[in-house]
Symmetry: C2
Subunit: 363 residues, 2 copies
């Protein structure tokens, strides 16, 4: 294999590729104190994971037997590096490496593949547009731990793309999906369709620590509705709450119920914090909430298509990396600022940052 | 007095102009179920108000014996209408009318003055940049109730400026205050100053109903930091929690304590949801949290100046109204969309909207 000059690690939560991976995936998820802190977690985490596994297996069974997130991430990565080789010849050839948080391929797999390909310059590229310690933060912490475990601590020179909530390419691609979603409605009612921007929720204790996620979610929504330039009303809501803690609201399911009770007929759900289809879109939004919407009398309930393997999104990913490489900064001005309530000393680290002098100046 | 063609009602919460107005102000505030819902409110509201009154009187005493919000609102209004007469001669002459929510001049005062001036075309202009049912919503509901009480239900043709979180003029004026705030720090450390954007908090039950405030606050912050174009890290926090309910976090006071404990030396607080100085800036941010900051070792704690009577902000106010009048719409696309969890049938009304056919199309 030809030597890769710049390795781009695509960080995401991942999803079980088949039904046998459901329980291991949930066990890893509920063990992660960077996403949810439970009392007696080493006992309660596995308890919740095992109790939920049969139900979740059934959900994956209904969406085709597994999550498509690996397939889409690989397509995105391939499209991204092809474009990057043209956009940024100085840093070519580029390679992409998938690092999921709770399922294979994990950080170790990505790091070992990078070493095998002779990568020296590495970019940790979160696939979550909005930063949260629960998602991007957890993935980065795991990446650095994996570098220690694999003995690859000093193997690469790193920089981080830690957030891109209002990058023009992302907003443009996301706005295109909203336009496609609206095109599914009768032109006579199109202006009355309510846009419901839905993102995964966070436990309130994460919010109270000072997590950046709600601010960046709000900024993404504003950027999309301005780019869209239509009179449609819109609302925000949060989905996927689980476990015995209080979560940030309003809940997507409850909002759908209340909109139905009020007589709202036309609803377009926009999953603005996910870039690939996975169980939260294919099962929770499409099936579960679709049934809720039907029950409460919402006659036209649609979801915008996920970005998945859309060429416009591959353009965006490539442009985000190109802009990052050209800027020469190891991370955004926000990355090194830990949440005010942070209790995790590992947070906001980086190994071997590029341009160490620059890093010292902005930390 | 010469006839006023276009009357602009400036809606805000207001503040006691002298110490004798403190208790009446608090009684009105804690009676408002649109800002806070307490159990046994007709009993607990006055109880909390009377118990807090002596302490709050003391706070007003220390900032000069009263709130400057009326003085600043009048200066803003005067600057706004002078500019509007030049910017929008078709709708001139313009007059401004202050309608505070919890203290004189109230909605009745504004409406009676408008009738006396012969106003026919009226604009309800919230002075809260970001929409919340607790602030703008409550003021508008009270305005319509006051129109009923005064017999002026049919006296004016109305439109509403219900939000302006990312209006370019507002963002530009706010960014200028951040630049001025940063200029107070030694150039050697200026890039390390942490910007703490602080806004009044909301009870979590308001958030769970689906209030627009957190999204619009997030969008305002993003717009300011992008316009600023500097490497300073920033955080968001919420101030002014009161009473026995749970509020949206993180709390500004706790964030300051934690930043101090972590060794942060340079902090600039940006009150992005207030446009005039009042007790939350002059007392809470400057005195109370200033002392907290000093105690926890933050050596340089500053606050950006409020917009107050800055000419750039008067330009922004005039441009917001000019753009609104030119667009000919009775309200923003969001105004008529009640919160999903709304339980107040009065919300999101308008009396005698201009261009009623347009209104029907967008509601």
């Amino acid at each position: 294999m030809s030597k890769v000059k710049t390795g781009i690690v695509m960080l995401n939560l991942g999803g079980p590729a088949n039904l046998d991976e459901v329980e291991p995936f949930l066990l890893e998820l509920f063990a992660d104190r960077e996403i949810i802190q439970l009392p007696f977690q080493h006992w309660l985490g596995p308890f919740i994971a095992r109790r939920r596994a049969p139900k979740v297996r059934g959900l994956y069974d209904k969406i085709g037997g597994g999550s498509p997130i690996l397939r889409y991430t690989r397509a995105q990565g391939q499209g991204m590096v092809e474009r990057l080789d043209r956009l940024s010849p100085d840093t070519a050839p580029h390679g992409f490496y998938v690092a999921f948080r709770y399922i294979q391929p994990k950080s170790e797999d990505a790091l070992r593949a990078m070493a095998a390909d002779g990568v020296e310059r590495a970019v940790a590229f979160t696939q979550y547009p909005q930063f949260s310690c629960s998602t991007t933060g957890s993935s980065l912490n795991e990446l650095w731990r994996a570098a220690e475990r694999t003995g690859l601590r000093d193997a690469f020179e790193w920089s981080i793309i830690d957030r891109w909530p209002v990058h023009a390419g992302f907003i443009g691609a996301m706005t295109d999906t909203v336009r496609e979603g609206l095109a599914q409605f009768d032109p006579a009612v199109r202006d009355q369709v309510l846009l419901l921007f839905s993102a995964h929720s966070l436990p309130l204790d994460v919010i109270d620590r000072g997590d950046a996620y709600p601010q960046e979610f709000g900024a993404s929504v504003q950027a999309v509705v301005e780019r869209l330039g239509r009179p449609n009303p819109y609302l925000l809501a949060f989905q996927s709450e689980v476990g015995p803690v209080r979560w940030l609201g309003p809940s997507t399911e409850r909002v759908i119920k209340r909109l139905g009770a009020r007589g709202q007929q036309h609803l377009l759900v926009v999953p603005i914090a996910f870039t690939s289809d996975h169980i939260e879109t294919l099962s929770e939004l499409d099936r579960e909430y679709g049934e809720v919407a039907h029950r409460v009398g919402i006659s036209h309930y649609k979801r915008t298509p996920a970005l998945n393997d859309r060429p416009g999104f591959m353009d965006a990913l490539a442009n985000i990396v190109r802009d990052h490489l050209a800027a020469g900064r190891p991370y955004s001005p926000l990355y090194r600022t830990r949440c005010p309530g942070c209790v995790n000393p590992q947070c906001r680290q980086i190994l071997n940052p590029v341009g160490a002098a620059v890093a010292a100046g902005t930390s």
